[in-house]
Amino acid sequence: MNAWAAAALVLLAAAMPVCLWVAARGSAVRRLAGVCLLSTAVGAVFLVLPQAYQRSSYQDLALMLAVLSPAGTLVFTRFVVGHSYEHDSTGAHRHGSGSGSGSGV
């Protein structure tokens, strides 16, 4: 096991369970912090593993995750806020904040 594989193992063993734990408990907004850090930790693992296995083409996964994970978190954030606004059932409040145009899915 080289240093890259050891770093990936440390990230997988230490970071993933804690992030999953945070993402599984609390209110919807509080869970998003765990999801955000989880995507960052997975990105770090995807950066390290291609060096461990000497397969540089695997680094495209990290590139895709770097582009898609912020977009995914932003979509989740919008759905969470939109879902809460749907349950408010006050149209004026929904239009007043300027961020509740989503249907909440």
Binding site: V10, C19, R30, C36, L47, L63, A66, T73, L74, V80
Partner: protein, 110 residues
Amino acid sequence: MTDSHVLWIEGRMMAGHVLVLVLLWAGVAFVLLSVVALARFGDTFLRLHALAPAACAGVPLIAAAVAADQGAGRAAVKTLLIGLLFAAGGTVTTIALGKASWQAERRERE
């Protein structure tokens, strides 16, 4: 090639390897710092602070380690771009999370 040249080249390779290891484990330490902070902080807004070390220091340092290991070239530029994307994306998502947390807290007060 004389012995001094060989020693100089070996010393330079060793220094590069040490630099890669220092960057790699510094990045891993920043990610673990974020994880510990996320587990310890209870407040929603404090948790937003916990996201910063991993996104803005941890992943870019790991990307710098990978780029230093790859050497000068297009692959290293791509790796550094990935680290930069993670730093920028983490900042943007933290801003969005802060806004969502603020709106959720305001609704709870009302």
